[in-house]
Structure formats: structure tokens, C-alpha cells
């Protein structure tokens, strides 16, 4: 198996479906597998980053906890769409971990350098 540049494009909100959870679990595994992994939160996916989540209130694991585990699995290239954050009234201080906030142009460049993209 070659080392690939692999982007996880996360655009779903954290709790209404299992899309966010299962995509994050695959990102954790990719980190263990020694791929060159990036994660881009965009659209409603930026809600996964919001601090103060309490999944157990609706019988779910807290997605924020899984997001915060990414760096421990060597997934450290974390990005969030600037426009998606801004339209939702979110700033860097509202997030549960530090991410690089990127413009549309920067996202276009990030996509262009990938070998594969996994979506949620």
C-alpha cells in the first residue's frame, strides 16, 4: 500500500444522522494507517467543531470528543471553511480545538493536491 494524500471532507451536522460519527471514525483509522491525512470541515460540518456539546443528552457519544481525538491519532492537518463558520456566527474561540480557517481559494488548492477524498 502506498502512502496517499487523503482528505476527509466533512459537511454533515454532528447528531441528526450517523454520517459525521462514521466519517470521523474512518479518519481516525486513516491516521493509524500512516496516510497523509487532512480533514476539512465545511458546510454544516463546522457544527462538529462547536465547543460545549453534550451528546449523551440525546443518547449519543459527543462528536466533539471524537474530533478532539484526531490529533492523538496523528491527524493534525485540520481545516475549517471560513465562510461556513462566518454564516453560522462562529469564530475560532467557539471551537473545541484549534483548526486552520481557510478561504475558498485555499480549499480549492487543498483539494487539488489530494489523491483521494472520503466524504461523510
Amino acid at each position: 500500500m502506498e502512502t496517499k494524500r487523503l482528505l476527509f471532507l466533512l459537511r454533515q451536522p454532528p447528531y441528526g444522522s450517523s454520517h459525521a460519527l462514521e466519517a470521523l471514525e474512518s479518519a481516525l483509522v486513516a491516521g493509524v494507517f500512516d496516510q497523509r491525512v487532512s480533514v476539512l470541515f465545511s458546510g454544516d460540518g463546522v457544527w462538529q467543531l462547536l465547543a460545549g456539546q453534550d451528546g449523551p443528552a440525546i443518547q449519543r457519544r459527543s462528536i466533539a470528543k471524537i474530533v478532539r481525538a484526531l490529533p492523538q491519532y496523528d491527524v493534525t492537518a485540520l481545516y475549517a471553511c471560513a465562510e461556513a463558520l462566518a454564516t453560522r456566527g462562529l469564530g475560532a474561540g467557539d471551537l473545541s480545538l484549534p483548526v486552520a480557517i481557510v478561504t475558498r481559494d485555499e480549499q480549492r488548492a487543498l483539494l487539488a493536491e489530494q489523491d483521494a477524498v472520503v466524504n461523510d
Binding site: 500500500m1 502506498e2 502512502t3 496517499k4 487523503l6 450517523s18 454520517h19 462514521e22 471514525e25 474512518s26 483509522v29 486513516a30 493509524v32 494507517f33 496516510q35 489523491d115 483521494a116 477524498v117 472520503v118 466524504n119
Partner: protein, 130 residues
């Protein structure tokens, strides 16, 4: 060229499995290799051996099994996604003391690592979303 495929939608509830099936047939017909189709999210329901298609509709299960057999494609089902959706094989039936198992024998129950491995060892990765 080697193409890895992911299917995220359930048969009937989503068009994903049908679109992926047609794509795989066309890829094989064009001389490409599809080493593994990875069923994830609701896509794991594709592996159910006990679904009954509506009258006058073809069975997506039979189509997958036939194509996989003819083209040497591994049909891989994510174990974590499958267990919580009630898609289990005989080993898991025993391990969790369940009353039945329902995975068709043409499907392999595998870990998420096999998704990453499939991406890493292929030239292209295509996801059919729900």
C-alpha cells in the same frame, strides 16, 4: 487502472448501491480492475441475505454476487457500521449471543482499515453517497 469503490446508501432507501453496480459493470467492461467494494454507513444493508425484493424488481443482492464472482471483486462490509445496524455473520452471532445471522456468504465482514487499505492500493477512489 485499479478503482476502489465505497457505497454509503442502503438498497431501496437510496440509489447508491444501484449506481455503484452499474459503474462497476462499466469499469470492468472497459478493462479496469475493481479490487474491492467497501460498504459503509447504511450501505452495509446491501449484504443482507434475507431481504425480499418487491415483485417485478430485480434483486440487487443477486446482481452484486454475480458481478463480484465474475469480475473477482471483494465485497467488504464494515463491521462497526454493520453490527449496530443488525447486519451480522455467524461469528458475531456466536460472539454476541444473537438469535440469527443475516450476512450473505459472498460478503466479507472487515475492519475500517480495509477501506484505507483499498484507497491506498488503488489508482482511483469513488464514493456512491446515500
Amino acid at each position: 487502472m485499479n478503482i476502489a469503490i465505497a457505497v454509503h446508501g442502503a438498497p431501496y432507501s437510496s440509489q447508491a448501491a444501484l449506481s455503484a453496480l452499474r459503474f462497476c459493470r462499466a469499469a470492468v467492461a472497459a478493462g479496469h480492475q475493481v479490487a474491492r467494494v467497501f460498504f459503509y454507513h447504511d450501505g452495509v444493508h446491501t449484504a443482507s441475505a434475507i431481504s425480499v425484493p418487491p415483485q417485478d424488481e430485480p434483486s440487487p443482492l443477486a446482481d452484486w454476487v454475480e458481478l463480484a464472482d465474475a469480475a473477482g471483486i471483494e465485497l467488504a462490509v464494515c463491521i462497526a457500521a454493520a453490527l449496530k445496524r443488525g447486519i451480522v455473520n455467524g461469528d458475531e452471532q456466536d460472539r454476541y449471543d444473537l438469535t440469527a445471522s443475516n450476512v450473505h456468504p459472498a460478503f466479507a465482514i472487515v475492519g475500517l482499515g480495509q477501506l484505507i487499505e483499498a484507497i491506498g492500493s488503488s489508482d482511483r477512489f469513488v464514493t456512491f453517497a446515500a
